[in-house]
């Protein structure tokens, strides 16, 4: 079904969708095998080649300590996108689990969980992210924690309303009257019906989470320095913006392209699920 779906996407005449599919394949390749494309080390320092503009030897130029930017940006793909994907996965897993239980059981537990989640929701996402990573200190683990907390309410709400809607359907009533326990009904019968909604939410939130991840990296609250990360490279380039613009150009373009690709995919999914 997956293959058929992508085939249809390509056949679809919208150029943005074709571009999105191509970009997704390129990013998948960069995540799986960055060494194939970028041969130079993303970490080795070469002070004598510092701040060189793009050239045949260094396609994207070099940064202030002479590291090859092409290699850094390519290797950062896996780290940046991986962090976002992982953080959102945790968020989706925990948020949906809580949401399903909350929506299915209702009552006091539902009230309590919903109010707790509302607390997170009062903060604009970026501010919540800044506070969490700022107080815990920079580092990949704190970044993942911050991102997953920030997006937890979105998954919670989707799963909760999904579970509530399913709860009133006849098949749940039938399962109850057959004597199945609540956990069985919730996880074996209701959850699979809510799953598509959660998956779609994942794709929709991905570009947003990516922006927050990059912003936190840009504020110096992301991964620790030598690790290549798009946001972190942008933070480094900020100080040389007028003399060495190329440091900032490339990671931003990669961020834009990946957010674009996932956003178009999300919209295509939305349109298709909306119709069907």
């Amino acid at each position: 079904m997956k293959i058929g779906y992508f085939y249809r996407l390509v056949l679809d005449s919208k150029p943005s969708r074709i571009l999105s599919v191509v970009l997704l394949f390129v990013f998948a390749l960069l995540i799986l095998a960055p060494e194939l494309i970028a041969h130079q080390s993303p970490i080795t320092l070469n002070p004598e080649f510092a701040l060189k503009p793009p050239s045949a030897a260094h396609w994207f130029g070099t940064d202030d300590v002479g590291r090859d930017l092409f290699s850094r940006v390519i290797h950062a793909t896996r780290i940046t996108l991986g962090l976002v994907a992982g953080a959102l996965f945790i968020s989706a897993f925990v948020g949906s689990l809580l949401g399903l239980v909350s929506g299915f059981s209702g009552g006091l537990l539902d009230q309590l969980l919903s109010r707790l989640i509302d607390v997170i929701l009062t903060f604009p996402p970026i501010i919540a992210g800044v506070v969490i990573t700022g107080i815990l200190g920079p580092g990949a683990d704190h970044l993942v924690l911050a991102l997953s907390v920030v997006y937890l309410p979105m998954f919670f709400r989707i799963a909760r309303s999904g579970a509530m809607a399913e709860n009133s359907r006849t098949y749940v009533e039938a399962a109850r009257s057959l004597g199945f326990g609540a956990p069985h009904i919730l996880f074996k019968q209701v959850a699979p019906n809510v799953l598509p909604l959660i998956l779609m939410q994942y794709v929709i939130l991905f570009p947003l989470a990516l922006q927050i991840e990059a912003a936190l990296g840009f504020l110096g609250l992301g991964v620790a320095p030598p690790t290549p990360d798009w946001g972190a490279i942008l933070e480094q380039g900020k100080n040389f913006i007028l003399t060495a613009w190329w440091i900032s150009l490339w990671p931003g373009l990669f961020l834009l392209a990946s957010a674009f690709a996932v956003m178009v995919l999300g919209r295509a999914l939305q349109e298709r699920l909306g119709k069907g």
Binding site: I126, V130, P207, A214, A215, L219, S248, L255, L256, M263
Partner: protein, 276 residues
């Protein structure tokens, strides 16, 4: 805070200064009663009352936020309306491409590229020191121009995308068909009927956008060294100046709640059907 000299009396004095010798609930009640009396404490580093710091910073953020909202609305809404009216045309495709790029580009990267662009093409870069609009309006506008443009790019795209979707679904409604059948002029159909009916979602979205701008200022203010609320929070976190962070966060949340409340009030004002 005392460093190496672990003098027990000094430690005791410090504990009682911060109120740490009181039980937690007393500390909280003291803080809460102070907050209700408009006293958010004093900054540990600058010695000034937090309320004063917030008021100063907020005036900067308000200017940026309102200018951004204005530009985003003036650019985004007409684009969305046009794209919605001419759905499927080349014009629509171009506007949609603008929306996608605007939504995918990280705001701080747009800011960096604007800095590079203006200095390379026009040889112009904004002044470094902030001056308030009451002291020197021209200089003030010069310094907020690029931050506002980079924020407005994203928000205009978001607005335009949203208005387009609203417009398209509104134009498919029965009353529009009736209006067409009645022989109304297209301009009357679009602006008198369709646009008026999408005002409600538009206002809701405006509230969302204002809250988003509030979050976006954290990043953009740090990039352009604007002494606004976002930078106050960020520098407070970096300097562990907790009264400032606490006060500013409380303030942001209150602002967000006020925006939502105002939006709810505006519904009733715009749509008399809700006055029940």
């Amino acid at each position: 805070m005392l460093g190496q000299t672990s003098d027990p009396t000094a430690a005791l004095a410090l504990r009682s200064f911060f109120g740490l010798d009181q039980p937690i609930h007393t500390q909280f009640l003291v803080w809460l009663s102070n907050v209700l009396q408009g006293d958010l404490g004093k900054s540990w580093y600058q010695g000034q009352p937090v309320t004063h710091l917030i008021a100063q910073a907020f005036s900067v953020t308000v200017e940026v936020a309102l200018l951004t909202l204005f530009i985003a609305t003036v650019v985004g809404v007409p684009l969305g309306v046009i794209a919605g009216i001419y759905e499927g045309s080349r014009l629509d495709a171009a506007i949609q491409a603008f929306n996608l790029i605007g939504l995918s580009a990280p705001i701080f990267w747009v800011g960096l590229m604007l800095l590079v662009g203006t200095s390379a093409v026009m040889g112009w870069s904004p002044p470094f020191a902030y001056s308030s609009p009451f002291e020197n309006l021209i200089e003030n506008l010069e310094i907020v121009l690029l931050p506002v443009l980079s924020l407005a790019f994203l928000q205009a795209a978001a607005y335009s995308h949203f208005v387009r979707d609203c417009m398209i679904s509104e134009l498919r409604r029965d009353y529009i068909r009736a209006a067409v059948a009645k022989g109304l002029k297209p301009s009357q159909i679009y602006f008198k009927h369709a646009l008026r009916n999408i005002l409600i979602p538009l206002i809701t979205f405006m509230g969302l956008i204002l809250i988003q701008i509030l979050g976006g200022t954290v990043v953009i203010e740090s990039l352009f060294s604007l002494p606004g609320l976002g930078r106050l929070i960020l520098s407070g976190i970096q300097g562990r100046d907790y009264p400032v962070v606490q006060g500013a966060l409380l303030f942001v949340v209150v602002i967000a709640i006020c925006i939502n409340f105002t939006v709810d009030l505006m519904y009733v004002w715009i749509d008399p059907r809700m006055r029940t």
